[in-house]
Homo-oligomer: 305 residues x 2
């Protein structure tokens, strides 16, 4: 007899990650597939989630029978109304006001929770990862863009789906243009994509973020200058978030977090140099990597029970 | 027979405001006294609160007898640990780790709640004032300094007493020095005191904030230039708070809010011009004026029951 399992599905812009998860946060079986096109069409997202859950159930047989799951959690990017169970808007995935919870619960025959990928990732970090024991946390995944999620007084802030747009906080007035239409947004200065653009402009060579981090570690001058600009912007964002909200823990996630202390070392120094009377947050790498969203979906599913 | 009353006391840097308050938020009797010196000494704060409550009770007699109160709420500035009932630190009032709830409950013989003046003011605005019906609110009192309090998902954020230091968010990198040791803090650019300093520097004449607002309304050029700088800084703070937290309501309080649309008109325009995809908050004057803290203390007291 297994512990009760839940199904967890993280539908991202490029990949669908799914798993059956036990109460300790272990993925009993998991899969990763490319995200199909056309998910904004009626029924398409539900079809993808149901297929993923059925594939997982048939692999995790229990005495020859597909294993039972007690609930299903789904997380998606964009503006998500967790309470209404509706995916309000996603630029990448092309939907608007897409009902998820009701049709999916009908199709699967189990209770379904819908959440936001980054907010749910923070729930998972708090339960199983690097935010354990903290009640006031900023989770900041840095990749092509920069996202944010806030846990304050032990509660992950939703604000009708509008909280956490840290990537679009202006940190360099009159800075480089951002895709959102503003200038000097954190994402336009310090995302992996922004760092790659800045390095290409300064050196004439295209390098991926991780390669640039390696150059910084070797002391390369151009890479170090580009990196310092990004770190300074990230530090401003951490400092203003700390000042405004009182977080005591900052978790850096996403692809750029793989740079480890090449990123976290100077970021910690810059934050410490800017804070005056405020509480000083500890800054650490997120623990769950690219499984945070899927494990977060599992947390939402367990919380239904 | 009266409705049950609570005692509410707001101990500020210059004045003590106290009232007996009914469940509808009406002050049945109230008083305002100058704040005595030496409140950091053991027993001093408790003595001041007890004296205020006794004075109020004897004025609000019920058939010749001093009226009963069911609970007492006290709010103070600085870093406040609501849960522990301890006033952690106040620069103005000179205390550090001052126990309040326990000695005061012993002295008064009723349950006591301790809170932070601005956070409690937001609770009062949400219950009786201009934040009614909103779940995600920034309350921004602008006076000698600039404070902030956040309600997110219906909950006023505490973060162990560290949340809401909006006045020390840097809005002008390398801007004017702030008392906290940093440069370009919102408070150093847009508080009433900062506006008065900037006007004096630009015109050679000392004017109070309200007089400067009146000059702006008349179209005075120097005053308008000083005012625009402050409004721009306030707009940046509102925009970054909206982006990060998802608030849909911004309440401007404090002395500068008396400028009304001279302040709120251009602030609304500047915020609307800076937001791109974000939810647009409505911006309004706080409703409770300088009674917000005292009414907030009453809310804390009612919540004990």
């Amino acid at each position: 007899m297994r512990a009760p399992l839940v199904a967890a599905v993280d539908v991202g812009g490029t990949r669908v990650k799914a798993a059956l998860v036990d109460p300790a946060g272990r993925e009993v079986v998991s899969l990763t597939d490319p995200t199909p096109a056309g998910l904004g069409a009626p029924g398409a997202l539900v079809g993808v989630v149901v297929a993923a859950v059925e594939a997982l159930r048939s692999r995790a047989t229990d005495g020859g029978e597909p294993v039972e799951v007690s609930a299903c959690g789904v997380v998606v990017p964009g503006i998500v109304d967790d309470a209404a169970g509706v995916a309000r808007w996603s630029a990448n995935l092309g939907w608007r006001d897409l009902p998820v919870v009701e049709p999916l619960a009908s199709a699967l025959g189990v209770p379904v929770a819908l959440g936001h990928d980054v907010r749910a990732g923070l729930v998972a970090e708090a339960r199983f990862g690097a935010a354990q024991g903290f009640s006031n946390v900023l989770f900041m995944p840095i990749g092509t863009g920069i996202a944010g999620a806030l846990m304050l007084d032990g509660h992950v802030v939703v604000a009708d789906g509008w909280s956490g747009e840290l990537g679009h906080v202006v940190v360099v007035p009159d800075g480089p243009p951002c895709g959102c239409g503003a200038s000097g947004c954190l994402e336009a200065v310090a995302s992996a994509a922004a760092i790659e653009r800045a390095y290409a402009a300064a050196s004439g060579q295209r390098r991926a973020g991780e390669a640039i981090a390696a150059l910084v570690a070797e002391g390369d001058e151009v890479a170090s200058r580009v990196w310092a600009t990004a770190v300074d912007a990230l530090a401003r964002a951490v400092v203003l978030t700390t000042t405004l909200t009182g977080v005591s823990r900052v978790l850096v996630g996403g692809g750029l977090a793989h740079a480890g202390d090449v990123l976290l070392g100077p970021l910690r120094d810059a934050v410490a140099a800017s804070l005056t009377f405020q509480r000083r947050p500890t800054i650490a790498e997120a623990a769950l990597g690219d499984r945070a969203g899927c494990l977060g979906a599992a947390c939402l599913a367990f919380d239904l029970a």
